[in-house]
């Protein structure tokens, strides 16, 4: 399990969990679960296009996830945000279906793209993924304070010169960046599970942002490591374990919060 080709999987998955857990904290804080679902899912078209014209998958994923993020940001500026997200997503998936129709890809490769494949990570992919992970971390460090402020108190953020639209675009770009590096491991459909399950669970345990981010990363690491180990043993798709693991983490977090609220205070009146 720890030999040869699996080493790449462990390294990449660890980076994926760290970035996913950290970016996910803001996804949950801003209530942007739908966007976190749409950007990676839509980037599937990019991977399909990349395999069609024969370039590196990462480039296709990057271009399409950024385009999707931009499309959501611009379309949602006026009009309903969820409608803009849904339409951008289905259009990109439609393009994906088209590219898939053009190419002569084998079904297992498509499934690997959609639902993840631990064995598919070559040594040449570790370097670019690490680069993207560092870029994500730097971007997050720079954006940390304005993003936090405008997520929690949008009006006072605006008063202090943080443009909500600008921040939204930065945030979408960050999700796109995180998507690009995470897709090859976990697959387009389930990376968003990693971006909402662990952070939502972490927020049930603590209200302090820095602690919550750390905890979220820790939970994401446990989820991904368990998923890889189980996927290696059973040969089942890793996406299944990530999806279910994230849901379990969330359920544990919510039960903890429920029990603690019960003990410390009377139930809040609805």
């Amino acid at each position: 399990m720890f030999s040869g080709f699996m080493v790449n999987a462990w390294i990449v998955a660890t980076m994926v969990a760290i970035v996913g857990g950290a970016v996910g904290f803001f996804v949950v804080l801003r209530g942007s679960a739908f966007v976190a679902h749409a950007v990676p899912n839509g980037s599937f078209a990019g991977a399909a296009a990349a395999s069609l014209i024969g370039v590196n998958t990462l480039i296709g994923l990057g271009v399409f996830s950024l385009a999707g993020a931009l499309g959501i940001g611009l379309l949602g500026r006026r009009g309903r945000h969820d409608v803009a997200t849904a339409l951008t997503l289905v259009f990109m998936l439609g393009l994906g279906a088209l590219f898939l129709g053009f190419s002569i890809e084998y079904a297992p490769e498509i499934e690997a793209l959609l639902f993840g494949e631990v064995l598919g990570i070559s040594t040449s992919e570790v370097g670019p993924t690490a680069g993207l992970a560092v870029a994500c971390a730097v971007a997050l460090a720079i954006l940390y304070r304005p993003l936090l402020l405008s997520s929690v108190l949008p009006e006072s953020g605006q008063a202090r010169g943080v443009s909500p639209f600008g921040i939204e675009l930065c945030f979408l770009a960050l999700v796109a960046l995180a998507t690009t590096m995470t897709v090859p491991v976990v697959g387009t459909t389930l990376i968003f599970s990693l971006m909402i399950g662990p952070p939502a669970a972490a927020r049930s345990f603590t209200a302090r942002p820095a602690v919550a981010i750390a905890l979220s990363i820790a939970i994401a690491l446990v989820t991904v490591w368990t998923a890889i180990a189980l996927s290696f043993q059973t040969n089942w798709p890793i996406g299944f374990f990530v999806g279910v693991g994230s849901a379990i983490a969330y359920a544990v977090g919510r039960s903890w919060r429920f029990v603690r609220l019960r003990r410390t205070a009377p139930l809040p009146q609805r």
Partner: protein, 289 residues
Amino acid sequence: MSHLLRAIIEPGFFSSASVQLAAAVGGLVAVVAAAVGVFTVVRGQAFAGEALGDIGAAGGSSAYLIGIAPLWGFIGIAVAAAGVMEMIGIQRARGRDLATGIVLGAGFGLAALLLYLGTTFNNTTGATVTILFGSIFALDRSILPAAVVFGVIALGIVTALYRPLLLSSVSPDLAAARGIPVRLVGSLYLVAIAVAVALSAVTIGAILSTALLIGPAAAALQLTARPGRAVAAAAAIGLAAIWLGLLLAYDSYYWPPHHRGWPVSFFVVTLVLLAYLASRALGRRRARR
């Protein structure tokens, strides 16, 4: 003139049995999805619709696994997922997206597993693409009665709930004050979404099914604010998108690069997006005047 017509509509389009069936099922689905979708957009439940469609993939793949028509799987799982979402608190606006997302993640994970098992044990390669991206030309004639029944059920729920649903969508507090069981209405409506999305998944695929639910309805709501008219306009846009999509896909068998035809789903989704963008431009121009 007839040459031009023949260039636009390939010969055999109207006489092909699979095209007729596709047009019948597609038309039915478009109308049901559009009518249900108007309320989905008004209530801001696009993500729930998307999630129910995606989770439906688990149902479609388990149907393949046990060898029944995918429609049953789509409907069964989508309705079950609607129940779970309702249970873990979809009715509160705060945390609603989160609950939806968690259910979606678990459901999609299940879909991944079932698709994997399906392709491994039954050797049905290609099922993944069929379930996720749809194949309306390969429908079986036997699903038509079931599709009609479920379509009627979804439309029936929306019609029966029309006024309370409208009020509780626009102002939940006012609806509660007038004695409307807001939560019950919301749950029943979620079932209607589940059925509409499942029908849509059979025609244009599980992960694209939101297109027919959200697109025509959102476009119609740009043009008119009156709910009755919006439903009618949405149904018209949905019908146009799916029928035009079928026509284009039929024509595309002669197009490059492979002469294998372009997927119907691509045309439908693109037409829906274009309709939304056009009606947005139109609506904004009218608002300025």
